[in-house]
Symmetry: C3
Subunit: 161 residues, 3 copies
């Protein structure tokens, strides 16, 4: 989207698991530090990473309301893919991350935005899950699978997480 | 397999989750619409997407019979990776997909076949899980990891889902 | 790391599931047989594949001890991503793998080492989970995300599993 000759890295973030989102953002921030042009395409449960912490009043249909209620709102609410242990796992991970000076997911997302990582919300799954732009972080992009494929086709590293 | 100069996209579909299979087929159909040469290599639980809906009488060993019974038969029986909720999640997703005019998984698979997406069943995991050709969709290919790697090595976008 | 002109394949093994680890190592060994230069970057739960079977006495903090206890030690203890069924699933998979002459995961790891596949443990997640070098297999490498990205940027096939 910006310069022409930078190496490109793309990540489809499909998962809504805290640990996978952390891995995705660490890779993305690393690639951005390497001066790659980086795109994270958030689809399905990966959209939860982009949700604002607070509830945003929007009008929704019944099904969309149910999905909205059941899905975690924002980076602080995500669970782990393994050892979730009724919420104890995420707390432990957050604790050890702090202890070892690893950035938390909200910090990783903020850093990604500062480094110019292209955060994209998949419009088709926003529709499906009934998520509206007001509910997601500011300064992100909106696109469909065609735009993702355009980027990925020029990417040197393309991951599905 | 066909022309020489087309861009290639390959997907390993390992997962047997409905949502992941939908994501895989949406990406595959998008890439095919872009005139990429697309291969989906179905391995492990991803083979369930290729199973026929109806039971097909074949001779199997005991272990293979057990796997066959426990695994979902075809695209209509797959569960979700998140919020499965005793089967309610898949129903909700199917409902919202219909409401928003997103194709169902069986339709996505059919469209992939019409667009010439190369649907491949991993012969090694067919052996392991005791699946036989009669139980899988018609007009698909059969190959092993070597054939997959040959394709992927020329692919511009290679994903593991 | 060795010759200059070989095709490169990289795999991020994030998952601690037996079936996914098997898939990763089958792809890696296939690529190595094709004379690719192959790197498996083990991060998060993927590190469990590299753990030694036996308990290794090391000094740890409380949180790290808890993670160490809860996580499976080595390839023989991993569960399945689907149909774990209180441990019955892994047993069945191992049985059918043996029956069909597919190598077990420990054998696949050993073969990878013999073929010169570059097994890398992610130092950041080792820190997080409190894993120490003494607890992991011999003759592996240690690196961070920057080294992974350096490899992947030259890779033709890059997968996240």
């Amino acid at each position: 989207m910006t310069e022409v000759k930078k190496d490109k890295t793309t990540i489809v973030l499909f998962s809504g698991d805290l640990d996978k989102a952390i891995a995705a953002y660490i890779i993305a921030n690393g690639a951005a530090a390497y001066d790659h042009e980086v795109t994270i395409f958030h689809t399905f449960w990966g959209l939860n990473t982009l949700r604002k912490d607070e509830q945003v009043p929007v009008k929704k249909g019944m099904l969309e309301k149910m999905f909205g209620k059941m899905m975690p709102r924002g980076t602080n609410k995500l669970g782990l893919s393994k050892m979730h242990m009724a919420g104890m796992g995420p707390k432990m991970i957050k604790k050890v991350m702090k202890k070892h000076n690893v950035q938390s997911l909200p910090d990783l997302v903020e850093m990604a935005q500062e480094q110019g990582v292209n955060l994209v919300a998949c419009t088709m799954t926003m529709d499906l899950l009934g998520l509206q732009k007001e509910e997601l972080l500011d300064d992100i992009d909106y696109a469909g699978v065609a735009a993702y494929l355009g980027e990925a086709n020029e990417g040197k590293v393309n991951l599905f997480i």
